[in-house]
């Protein structure tokens, strides 16, 4: 198989305007992955599938990953007037990095027997704009797995032919695989008015659990 850099160069030539980025992987044997922007994802996928030298005809694994909002603390020296004298004072700046949901595709070629190529798509945020284009029209093997990500992570796949909940029941509200999911405490026992159980129930309700 060609290296990821060669594939990236090929893709940039074939799909004009596509913004691609190589995400490094720290594990000793795992491959690096390719981050694709949402507007050009379907065109990139179609090229990967149809190009005779690449021929990624098989989408093996499709999965979601939840990355929460993070705050990075930085200490900066700032000049300030303290009691009429200019002094250097340490100031802690908090930089907020918004979280996002990620969808990871592992692609293989059954024809040329190579792979994997790891594609990543990212949503803009974890709430209203949690959307990515669906790649099910290109690889049907993604159909149930994308439905599962919609079900458990709350990512909307635009262009998916049949986007419904798959493992949880219809009418269920939450997304259990998200990192900030709060487990309900009443699915195995009824909360009763006895110390620790009641405490736990109150705490969950305060945190937004059902």
């Amino acid at each position: 198989m060609e290296t990821l850099e060669q594939i990236k160069t090929k893709l940039e030539a074939a799909v004009p305007g596509a913004r691609l980025e190589i995400i490094p992987n720290g594990s000793p044997s795992g491959p690096n992955s390719l981050l694709v922007d949402n507007e050009h994802a379907v065109a990139v996928a179609k090229f990967l599938q149809s190009s005779p030298a690449l021929a990624f005809d098989y989408a093996s694994n499709v999965t979601g990953v939840d990355w929460l909002d993070t705050t990075v603390k930085k200490t900066v020296k700032v000049k300030q007037m303290v009691e009429g004298v200019e002094k250097e004072v340490d100031q802690v700046l908090e930089e907020k990095k918004p979280g996002y949901l990620e969808v990871v595709y592992h692609l293989y070629s059954m024809e040329l027997k190579h792979g994997p190529l790891v594609l990543r798509l990212r949503t803009e945020d974890r709430a209203g704009k949690a959307r990515v284009p669906s790649l099910t029209p290109v690889w049907r093997g993604a159909e149930f797995q994308e439905r599962e990500i919609f079900d458990l992570y709350g990512v909307t796949f635009q262009g998916h032919p049949d986007l419904r909940r798959i493992l949880m029941w219809d009418g269920y509200q939450d997304f259990p695989m998200r990192k900030d999911y709060v487990e309900p405490d009443d699915y195995e026992y009824e909360p009763t008015a006895h110390g620790p159980v009641l405490q736990k129930a109150k705490q969950h309700q305060a945190e937004g659990g059902g």
Binding site: P28, S29, D57, N61, T63, R140, L152, P176
Partner: protein, 387 residues
């Protein structure tokens, strides 16, 4: 009296056929307690007479969010849970998970452990395919006999698993960088005997069934899947090879030590139910070949990488995807490490779930009695579909 008004519950909107309207559609729910669905699986089937015009699979009845449990426990803590995915093949589940963690942490597996893994995995394949063939015949109405013959053989293999791991089905046997324990005394001789006798069972089974008229007319030409559809829908395992695609991960990835063994990959021509049955029978013969070679060549030595840590196991930040050819198809584990003792992301790529993608395509236009046979030929286990 009382002033409470009773609101009548809304009636379900089903399109029911009646004897008078001359050909309406009938919507039935097959499952989740139907005996032929191999577990708590349901199909919403719309029928025109006896022909299927629509079929939607419904699952999740056995969902316990295996992946969330995996993210809330340590790497090793998930090993016993992997047994519960495809509970027919716990040893191959163990291997797939161990191979993903070994990739993530860069662990090396000693020679003897690799041989033990091949032996246990191929024994697992034998008992899975044997019981699948038995179940398939059971679904076709051959009540009991083929299933009992298959289970008689499975019993011998489960006895071997019990002697080796202490458990018949929930083996929890492999560890990162090796296996949990070495063979007990006399185990290899016992295994050799079981493997030597297995072809006799296959001869008998094939003589009874391969050219059986009922089997042939119920399965040949039923639910044929084309090469292109099978590849595009991500079908793996015997179902893919029955459609004529030469893709066996044991040959493609050459994981473990599979490049040392001499074996062939049986392929089908038509992709119908009969081919899926035949491919599995032929695969059992190839597994016997692999087992004979592995039992002959197994070296002495350690069974676990001395560098592999059981306590305080924290892989470096990164990700890895490990996959193997499980009896049902490509079983993969995708792990992301953030440097802590628990995986940040723990994902199972279940072959049973993805193989169900084309269930509707295969069933459209078929008789409702064939739906049972078609589902049986996919080989699903609901523990893995629902996780």
């Amino acid at each position: 009296m009382s002033d409470i008004t009773v609101i009548p519950a809304e009636l379900p909107k089903l399109q029911l056929s009646s004897p008078n309207d001359g050909g309406g559609l009938l919507e039935i729910s097959m499952g989740p307690q139907h005996p032929s669905t191999h577990g708590v699986f349901r199909m919403d089937v719309v029928l025109d007479g006896e022909r299927v015009v629509k079929l939607k699979p419904v699952f999740g009845y056995l969902h316990r969010n295996h992946e969330k449990i995996g993210e809330n426990t340590t790497y090793l803590g998930s090993m016993p849970y992997t047994d519960r995915l495809d509970y027919f093949c716990s040893l191959t589940n163990n291997w797939a998970y161990a191979s993903a963690v070994e990739k993530l942490a860069g662990l090396h597996v000693p020679e003897r452990a690799e041989y033990i893994r091949v032996i246990t995995a191929e024994l697992t394949r034998l008992q899975n395919h044997a019981s699948l063939a038995g179940f398939l015949l059971q679904d076709m109405g051959a009540s009991g006999t083929p299933l009992m013959y298959a289970f008689r053989e499975r019993e011998k293999i489960l006895d071997l698993f019990e002697a080796l791991t202490g458990a018949r089905m929930m083996c929890n046997y492999m560890r990162f960088g090796g296996c949990r324990c070495d063979f007990p005394a006399g185990w290899l001789q016992q295994t050799q005997q079981v493997v030597d006798n297995f072809p006799r069972f296959l001869d008998e089974f094939e003589a009874l069934l391969n050219e059986n008229e009922i089997l042939m007319s119920r399965t040949q030409g039923v639910a044929a899947v084309s090469r292109e559809l099978a590849i595009n829908a991500g079908i793996t395992g015997p179902m893919l090879r029955a459609a004529g695609v030469n893709y066996d991960i044991r040959k493609v990835d050459r994981y473990g030590i599979y490049d040392r063994f001499n074996f062939r990959v049986p392929l089908g021509d038509h992709g119908d139910v009969y081919d899926r049955y035949m491919v599995r029978v032929l695969e059992m013969r190839e597994s016997v070949k692999i087992l004979q070679q592995a039992l002959r060549d197994i070296p002495a030595g350690p069974i676990v990488d001395p560098k592999a840590k059981l306590r305080g196991f924290r892989p470096k930040v990164g990700e890895a995807y490990g996959r193997i050819e499980a009896p049902k198809g490509e079983l993969g584990f995708y792990l992301i490490s953030d440097g802590s003792p628990n995986p940040y992301r723990y994902r199972v790529r279940p072959p049973s779930l993805v193989n169900l993608t084309i269930l509707e395509d295969m069933c459209l236009g078929q008789m409702v009695a064939d739906v049972v046979v078609i589902l049986g030929s996919i080989d699903i286990v609901l523990g893995e579909v629902d996780r």
